[in-house]
Symmetry: C2
Subunit: 403 residues, 2 copies
Amino acid sequence: MVSMGFAVPDDFERMWADLAPVGRSASSGGYFRQPFASAERELAAWFAEQCAARDLAVESDAFGNVVAWWRPEGSASPGVLTGSHLDSVLDGGAYDGPLGVVSALAAVDELRSRGFVPGRPVGVGVFVEEEGSRFGLACLGSRLATGAISWDQARELRDRDGVALGDVAEGGGPGLLDDVGVFVELHVEQGRDLVDRAAAVGVASGIWPHGRYRFDIAGEANHAGSTRMEDRRDPMLTYAMTALAANKQARVLGERATFGRVEVEPNGTNAVPSRVTAWLDARASTEEGLAELVETVSRQAAERAERDGTAVEVTAESVSDAVLFDPDLAARLAADHAGGDWPVLPTAAGHDAGVLSAAGIPTAMLFVRNPTGVSHSPAEHAEVPDCLAGVHALAETLERLAR
Amino acid sequence: MVSMGFAVPDDFERMWADLAPVGRSASSGGYFRQPFASAERELAAWFAEQCAARDLAVESDAFGNVVAWWRPEGSASPGVLTGSHLDSVLDGGAYDGPLGVVSALAAVDELRSRGFVPGRPVGVGVFVEEEGSRFGLACLGSRLATGAISWDQARELRDRDGVALGDVAEGGGPGLLDDVGVFVELHVEQGRDLVDRAAAVGVASGIWPHGRYRFDIAGEANHAGSTRMEDRRDPMLTYAMTALAANKQARVLGERATFGRVEVEPNGTNAVPSRVTAWLDARASTEEGLAELVETVSRQAAERAERDGTAVEVTAESVSDAVLFDPDLAARLAADHAGGDWPVLPTAAGHDAGVLSAAGIPTAMLFVRNPTGVSHSPAEHAEVPDCLAGVHALAETLERLAR
């Protein structure tokens, strides 16, 4: 357990209350904070105000990624970056992203309140479109900032309404992170490991390799009443079998496979569809395992398509290799705390931290306990004492790294 | 075969060319003519012009259903109604609906061109929202006009954007059809029976009972990466199994079951869905068969839901009983033609003719050959000579009925 005892819990709770109503659906209680749309822009403006109130030096890139530096006179490069993101999945929870940003600001407040002066600059960062909920590519902001994707590639990405990224964002590319020597992202846990270990805070060891794969299944539109079953080429059947096959395969292997998004054309009750497009989210503990999982599901889809008279095309929209966070750094951060060592655990969820790590920046993550383990859902939750323990843990971590 | 030899094929082709561009998608070649939206309203205005050019007396109801009467002096009630609808399914074909309207106008032209003066009024009707593609209830216009549904019930129907019917239509109810003694609807065939029989035109014997059933499947949203497969309550799996079960059941029994429309919440790639809503279109040759089909699919959905930890609710949004068109009328219309009798055949597709028949109006349908049998699709087609044979067959039919 993390020891308590800093003076600024009110500060955390005030910031948390600021964010609570922004982009919240009254019907589901979930959040809709898609990038470059009103709720997320409101949060970005709120963040700018918070940075100004703290006299942080705000730097941003053309994409809207921001790093706000606490750079005391005499502090020496490179800096220590923390932070997370403010966007959400569609109908997501309050904690995924914003907890890391609010905790970063509160950790700076804690360090200042006890008179700590860092020897290295401390930055609070916000990355845009971490979830990929609008343009389909997760960690888009950090990918642009690290050069993992170029603006020429990214600008062509389109949202569901056909709007190109190039029409809502001005550009993007490396530069913003040039002064970053280490990155620590605090995040709500998306699982129940910390519950099982009775710990409020943990340290990440790595991220499973994962990817998004688009299945385009083409059939033939026809009348749902008068077309005999044997005369159909119905892509919905191919899709349905593929979704079941993916689930079964992942279940057997202890991996993850999800079809959470489907689009049907023309999507009319009395018409056999002409086309079903569905997205597979797949994750496995090894890169070989991931490749085999996707290959198996694709093969089963193709076999069923032959039977249905349909055609399947599988496109990898994004694939993230396995991330192993700096093991020495993780061990150093986890050890020697008043309440004992923090547990070190892997995750199957992608994060900007994974992208920065892949770009060669020494990186660590702190997780805060989630009592139900539920995430990407209005039910996502963390108790206030655990959140405050997270703030304190982050402050301790920044202190160690920026001393 | 139907003998040719009337003077107005140009007239038909001109009208057909008028309609060709309205509501057509450049990418798919299909039609988007949803009720109370621009393309369909344009067609309604076009129809009014055509009626004015022919000196037909236009009557309409508050819903927008129209009957344009050719009522020569001395003609005696009740009248003979023909016509069809101008709306389409989403991304539908050119023929389903408009062929019956254009053929009706052309048949009036043919009768007039050869000097026929009807003893009974002849009406050309257009019913609104036959497809139910916007408000979910097929044959909505004819149901209102016959009193099969009341305006108080109908006004609460909502489209996909949540717009209530009461906000786009002014009202609806019986009255318009008071002077109708018999109804004949010409329609493109939605199947290949006429191809197999080498006939350009046929007569309908009846319509299979059919219905639309909404499956609401509730699960729990969660993170697609970090949630173990065994901890999920994923409604997509319940849906997928239900779609396959429906197909299998209908295939075995020679009936029809289609899931052509699906809506997923939140429909994000990296979230297990919280809810899947899907619509079953089911049709069978008997009412008992239809009930059993829907019951079996619902039971299989419920069984799978138990396994998935989800909950399924099935709601019948509309159910149409079997329609047996007036057998004497069908036999009379089919017999004694120059090219031999027209074939008499059933259909599994619903039509306004079924609603009028159920309301006690003696009703018949003529079908025009469809070379591929494909309908509710951009590929729907009929050859011009077959369309002209249909016009001629309709003119002959009107002549017999209105003499």
